[in-house]
Amino acid sequence: MEDYYLKVSKGHTDRRKLKSRLMIILCYVAAAMAILPLLYIFFYTTMQGASSLNIDFFTELPKPVGESGGGMANAILGTLILVALGSVIGIPVGIFAGIYITEYSKSIFANVIKFVTDVLSGIPSIIIGIFAYGLIVIPMKSFSAYAGGFALGVLMIPTITRITEEMLKLVPHSLREAALALGIPRWKTTLRIVLRTAQSGIITGVLLAIARAAGETAPLLFTSFGNSFWSTSLDSPMASIPVQIFNYAISPYDEWHSKAWAGAFVLISLVFIVSLIVRLATRNKFSQTA
């Protein structure tokens, strides 16, 4: 009788162990599945992009179909200008809102603002494009860099707010208390001590937001639109790398495709480098506080 129970429970245990092993193998498979497309996209873009990347890409204007050579210089400049415009809006609003949420967290507004920031980060970027179109393109009666930059700025806000909030939370309370105990006013404590302590984290967060904004396409389609020529005037249409990639990608010409791959490679490299900086900076941050 005892033998029987022992036998049954042994079979049962074996089955449980087998199942456990199987499920854990599945988890490994899942991890491999998630990484595979990334590596594929990464290497494919690098292979395609690096081969068509040359000096002309950064210095020449786009050439019409049929003519070889040419580059995306105006789109690169355009992206820089648009991102700079976006930063003018996104960085101050994002950082100050982040300060408000953490430093004055006892107010009823803080939670509301936190929630609304989450809402803003969830709004599809194409809708921000419609918003900028109605707010700026229609009154100005023209696609413009202003509208594109504004849209990018709005998109940057939630990322920067959240990063600021998280970084300020890492600053130990004792630091604030020490400053206040010395009679330093609260605003000075926040700006000169709390913000400075969290500085590197916030800067990397801002970098991340900028890298993301540089890759945004949807909100630019009908705000900054596109331009095949040099343009630095902010009230007229302006080229940008992502929109240029889109236009080239859906065209039927091989030459344009290889230009688009080069553009995609530039964007991916940007993201990779910034992510690496963020990783290294935040790792230092943690080891410092630990």
Binding site: C27, I41, V116
Partner: protein, 317 residues
């Protein structure tokens, strides 16, 4: 002498109070800007879609017509395309994401943990235009030559896997979305699993549980947070524009087959907005945008509430 000092201190205190008040309100103004912005976005979309809302009424959502030449507009095909592609995306990415999250929080050695977390972070940051571009030239041909014929030969009796294997369509859009939302769901699920106290797993082991049984218990305890992560991923999939536009085929139709080209709410806006002629066309596109906004707003609010309440619960423990 003593009196002078107290007066001096009072002055300093008053000045301090004033500057503190100024600073607090300055940050408040910037913070309120975010609220104003969101309110203004809603207001503007509502006003700009007025023309279309007045002409088509609620029928707009249920009409399949989309004909700019005849000025007939209805959003049903786009709602359908968005919905189905997002559901495909979740069906694929949810099991994978949970698997990766379990791997990252329970199984992986530290070196792999950092490396894979980093890779997944990058995956989340790659611009969607790059995914779309890759989709056109790599994924869609692969779907046409390999995946779709395979599905047809094995599961071809199902109506969803019938029809021409063209490569561009709902299924391809769903797969590219799955690749894009996996990092989001994975990251939150991993954090949620980390929030489950180790003592619970130890208790399970002490009772003789296998590794998987202990993990399963952690997963069950984390299900609120995982649901939140999933819904958040859904919100992202619904609003994704460029990658979907480039692989979904951009044809306004409702067909049973997942191989057929379709159209999504975000893609129709991306494709037609800049060239829209006539107020009614623009207005209808903005109304599509309004529907898209409403859907993502509800989905995201729900997700945030789930995640908030989960973190509060675990923090309370």
């Amino acid at each position: 002498m003593n009196k002078e000092i107290t007066v001096g201190i009072k002055e300093i205190k008053a000045r301090k109070k004033l500057s503190d008040l100024f600073f607090e309100n300055l940050t408040l103004v910037f913070a309120l800007m975010i609220i104003v912005l969101v309110v203004f976005i809603i207001y503007e979309m509502f006003m700009d879609s007025k023309l279309s809302r007045e002409i088509f009424g609620f029928g707009f959502i249920f009409s399949q017509d989309w004909n700019p030449v005849k000025d007939k507009f209805g959003a049903l095909t786009f709602v359908y395309g968005t919905l189905i592609s997002s559901i495909i995306a979740l069906a694929i990415s949810l099991p994978v994401s949970i698997g990766v999250a379990v791997y990252l929080s329970e199984l992986a050695a530290n070196v792999f943990k950092t490396a894979i977390s980093f890779l997944i972070e990058i995956l989340a940051a790659i611009p969607s235009i790059v995914y779309g571009f890759w989709g056109i030239f790599v994924l869609a041909p692969f779907m046409r030559t390999t995946v779709q014929p395979f599905l047809q030969s094995t599961l071809g009796f199902l109506p969803i896997f019938q029809g021409n294997a063209v490569g561009f369509g709902l299924l391809t859009a769903g797969i590219i979305l799955a690749i894009m939302v996996t990092p989001i769901i994975t990251a939150i699920t991993r954090d949620v699993l980390k929030a489950i106290p180790t003592s619970q797993r130890e208790a399970a082991y002490a009772l003789g549980a296998t590794k998987w049984e202990a993990i399963k218990m952690a997963l069950l305890n984390a299900k609120g947070g995982i649901l939140g992560a999933t819904v958040l991923g859904l919100g992202r999939a619904v609003g994704e524009t460029m990658a979907v536009t480039m692989v979904i085929g951009n044809k306004a139709q409702i067909k049973a087959s997942l191989f057929e080209p379709s159209y999504s709410m975000a893609s129709v806006i991306a494709n037609e907005f800049a060239e829209a002629s006539g107020g009614l066309h623009i207005s209808s596109l903005i109304e599509v945008g309004l529907i898209l906004f409403a859907v993502t707003f509800i989905i995201n609010s729900f997700a945030r509430l789930l995640i908030y309440s989960f973190t509060r619960k675990t923090e309370a423990k």
